[in-house]
């Protein structure tokens, strides 16, 4: 992956920049030694790496503002970073950039059960937001797989989804307000504890803007009362197409499961070997979960199983207890770990219209053979959000490039059938050069014009989202204008 050539002027004034940053932050909050900056050279996508000029760890909105103001004045690019769990390289630094980590901003500011909102600092992890309200039986709904570690800041930047978004929506649907620090250090508020921010929906724009428009330091999030219970049913099919048809029938029947997860044979085999959840060996496995009181769950699962039976499943297992539910989810939850045991992997997340599922799976399997790299599929079937995991050997020369090429072909296929490049991980560094496959030049120009408004110098999270050529041209223009 090509990275922009670092700005020599910035590199040459590193000492001055570090000194200025140290003047507004505690001593241990500025990391600049080369032995230490290396730990910030990548996020959850370790295939691409580049140590930053420095990393800073502010502990308040005011400190974030002070850092941005200095970087703005010095013309230094800033890469905001939540917990560094991005699978798209969303927090990958450039050599001339400052990493702005929000890990120390992790307080709960206010919990308000009557209005059903919680206000947190955005370095707080997703799961610990639920942790803060679960004693009162509330929860924060978006649940990306990395929810244990990922920060709300990153969730907002990428508009993260999760397994249960079929019912509860993704981050943007659960975000009511933010404190935003602009690149020049200006602190402002968007929305609040009320519904629907007034004026233009800038809140909706900020969510999913991959840290390129501003740094979000505080967020007001909707919290919901926990359902009385939840239980899944597991079904196995001998054919992908049949499994796909079953998903469509369930949705059409008017039952709205909270999650419909899909695993294909390579994935079932790998997770069975690793976690031993007792899955049937078949072509496609579905886990469908519903919520409510026991009686409500029974009724919904009954209906779902009735539909499933019409598609001749090779296995149909309804959970009757918490233990059985855990067993059904075990394999799915171990899927990524299981892949890590086999080899290095790259996880894509293109979305497709549910109707093209069988065709896309067939094409992926053909491409996998052509490239000679194994691909396992595990994904949120209810919303068509695929997660093809391409296995490769990072220590084998040429394998990463092969994997990238296969990944690009799979994502182009997603676009071709009417879907998109990324459903929840974000474009980041990984998919920026594929943006031209989904968007016309004018569409990209339109999006870049938005960035011009928020960050005219193009300093925030450089070299992401847009094709490198386009974003570099923009930066050069901004520099020339100065």
């Amino acid at each position: 992956m090509e990275m922009p050539a670092p700005n020599a002027t910035i590199l040459s004034k590193k000492a001055k920049i570090v000194e200025r940053l140290q003047s507004v932050l505690p001593k241990d909050a500025v990391i600049y030694d080369e032995a230490e900056t290396r730990a910030y050279e990548c996020d959850g996508l370790s295939a691409y790496r580049c140590p930053p000029l420095a990393a800073v760890l502010p502990a308040s909105t005011e400190e974030v503002s002070a850092v941005l103001k200095i970087c703005h004045e010095e013309g230094v690019p800033v890469v905001p970073r939540g917990s560094g769990t991005s699978l798209a390289g969303g927090a990958l630094p450039t050599a001339d950039s400052v990493i702005l980590g929000v890990a120390r901003l992790n307080d709960v500011i206010e919990t308000d059960y009557e209005n059903r909102v919680i206000k947190v600092q955005t370095g707080r992890t997703n799961l610990s937001v639920t942790g803060a309200v679960e004693e009162e039986d509330f929860f924060y709904a978006p649940d990306p797989s990395s929810q244990l570690a990922c920060a709300i800041a990153g969730n907002i930047a990428m508009n993260s989804g999760g397994a249960h978004c079929l019912k509860y929506g993704v981050t943007t649907n659960n975000l009511l307000g933010v404190t935003l620090v602009m690149m020049d250090g200006t602190i402002t508020e968007l929305g609040g504890a009320h519904m629907d921010a007034g004026g233009l929906d800038l809140l909706g724009l900020i969510c999913g803007s991959e840290g390129q428009l501003g740094v979000v330091t505080e967020a007001t999030l909707r919290i919901l009362r926990k359902p009385e219970g939840a239980r899944p049913v597991l079904m196995g099919f001998d054919d992908n197409e049949v499994a796909g048809a079953c998903v469509a029938d369930i949705i059409k029947a008017g039952v709205l499961p909270v999650a419909i997860e899909f695993m294909d044979r390579p994935c079932i085999e790998a997770t069975e070997a690793f976690a031993g959840a007792g899955y049937p060996m078949c072509e496609a496995l579905l886990i469908v979960e519903v919520e409510g009181s026991d009686a409500e769950i029974d009724e919904q699962l009954g209906l779902i199983m009735q539909i499933a039976r019409k598609h001749n499943p090779v296995e149909l297992r309804e959970s009757k207890s918490a233990e059985e539910s855990a067993k059904i989810w075990l394999g799915r939850k171990s899927a990524f770990g299981a892949m890590g045991q086999i080899n290095d992997y790259m996880c894509l997340d293109g979305t497709i219209p549910v109707s093209s599922l069988p065709y896309v799976l067939k094409r992926i399997s053909e491409m996998s053979k052509d490239y000679g790299l194994d691909v396992a599929n595990v994904f949120h079937a209810g919303d068509g959000n695929m997660h093809p995991l391409i296995l490769f050997d990072a220590n084998k020369p040429g394998d990463l490039e092969l994997c990238e090429a296969l990944g690009a072909d799979i994502l182009r296929l997603c676009v071709e059938v009417g879907g998109c490049l990324t459903g929840e991980h974000g474009v980041g560094i990984e998919k920026r050069d594929l943006m031209v496959d989904q968007f016309a030049p004018a569409d990209l120009e339109n999006q870049m014009a938005v960035k011009d408004v928020f960050d005219p110098q193009w300093l925030l999270n450089p070299a992401k989202v847009f094709p490198l050529e386009a974003s570099e041209a923009r930066r050069a223009m901004a520099l020339a204008a100065e």
Partner: protein
């Protein structure tokens, strides 16, 4: 002008020499009046794609809501955000369009549970102020590719671009519904009761409160779902809220639905004289504000977070809000009042600067509904 294709629309805008007034069905004259040649999207009409199994519908912007609803109805699905029909309140006629709903981010009582119009938006095609045809989002349910201009366009009242096509997420209809009615509560008690209901695990899909307008104050809670489930949750909720006062249940789904159509369209104020304001605040602030306003020409939706109030002509509601976080829109008033008070809530300086910057990028010549969102 009534362009028949997206291309014609683009050409019309590109060749415009003066401000344009963009309308869909023309049933929602919200905001400051715009002087300019009318561009109507009503001829850009028709459902392009509807996949019930994928819960998605794509339609041209001028498609009447009625047409969309008929199509969805046939598959037992619906627009879950329950868009309000503004005709009664604003005294307009015509056919509301899906483009109008999106441009004004119109939602109804189910917004508290299912989200607003913007939460169901999957993609848009639009023409910007330079006449360029653009798209953002798509037709799949999860999509974070590039910036979310779908949200930005939704609720932008045609000031950033003219919508030509929209794609939305749809949801299955529910089997049946019932409405719980708690009688005789004042505003703070009503908000407490609605908060308790919305904070329960019984999936209340709407919560509204009507003060005493002759038939006694009434706090209403809607439960939807499968028949047995609705019965179960109604019972549970009734027991849980017993302490608030007398509770009756409207178990007839047709009658229950009527209550919510009336709430959605704020039917109580259709014939009431005065300025109509729409206020979005957090529910507990809603209780305080409603008490302070001291009027019974007030209606609460969204668990107390949405307040509709009729005030004597020219009253500056925002002054009475006295800094309460949230925003108030002057929905119905004569032109001089609108000009004096402004229709949309004033923005913080940094936000106003960004909004102006965005408008300058999307519509460099300032010809799309100029000044409407003031």
């Amino acid at each position: 002008m009534t362009p028949r294709t997206e291309t014609e629309l683009a050409e019309a805008i590109a060749s415009a020499k003066a401000p344009l007034r963009i309308i869909g069905g023309g049933t929602r004259p919200i905001g400051m009046p715009v002087a300019g040649e009318v561009v109507s999207t009503s001829a850009l009409s028709g459902v392009e794609l509807y996949e019930p199994g994928a819960l998605t519908i794509v339609a041209k912007a001028g498609t009447p809501i009625a047409e969309i609803e008929t199509a969805l109805d046939a598959e037992n699905q619906r627009l879950a955000f329950e868009p309000m029909d503004h005709r009664g309140l604003l005294g307009t006629t015509g056919d509301p369009t899906i483009g109008g709903v999106v441009a004004a981010n119109v939602s109804g009582p189910r917004r508290i549970q299912a989200g607003a119009c913007r939460d169901h938006m999957l993609g848009v095609r639009f023409v910007d102020g330079a006449g360029t045809i653009l798209k953002n989002g798509g037709r799949v349910m999860k999509n974070v590719t590039g910036y979310d201009l779908v949200k930005l366009l939704t609720g932008s009242y045609g000031t950033l671009g003219v919508l030509s096509e929209v794609s939305l997420k749809v949801l299955p209809k529910t089997d049946t519904q019932a409405t719980l009615m708690i009688h005789g509560l004042d505003y703070p008690q009503a908000v407490k009761a609605m908060s308790a209901a919305l904070g329960s695990p019984y999936e209340v899909s709407a919560a509204a409160h009507m003060p005493d307008m002759g038939q006694g104050a009434m706090t209403m809670l809607r439960i939807e779902g499968f028949e047995k489930s609705v019965a179960y949750r109604t019972d549970q909720l009734k027991a849980e809220l017993a302490a608030f006062g007398e509770i009756s249940v409207e178990a007839d789904p047709v009658k229950s639905a009527k209550i919510w159509t009336a709430s959605r369209d704020v039917a109580g104020f259709h014939k009431v004289e005065g300025d109509v304001w729409r206020i979005s605040v957090k529910p507990t602030d809603g209780a305080t504000l409603a008490t302070k306003l001291g009027t019974d020409k007030l209606f609460m939706d969204w668990g107390g977070g949405l307040i509709w109030v009729v005030l004597p002509k020219g009253t500056d509601l925002r002054a009475k809000m006295n800094g309460t976080p949230g925003h108030a829109t002057l929905m119905r008033a004569d032109e001089p009042t609108r000009a004096t008070l402004g229709t949309f809530h004033p923005e913080l300086a940094p936000i106003a600067k960004i909004s102006a910057g965005l408008r300058a990028k999307f519509d460099p010549r300032g010809i799309l509904n100029p000044g409407l969102m003031a």
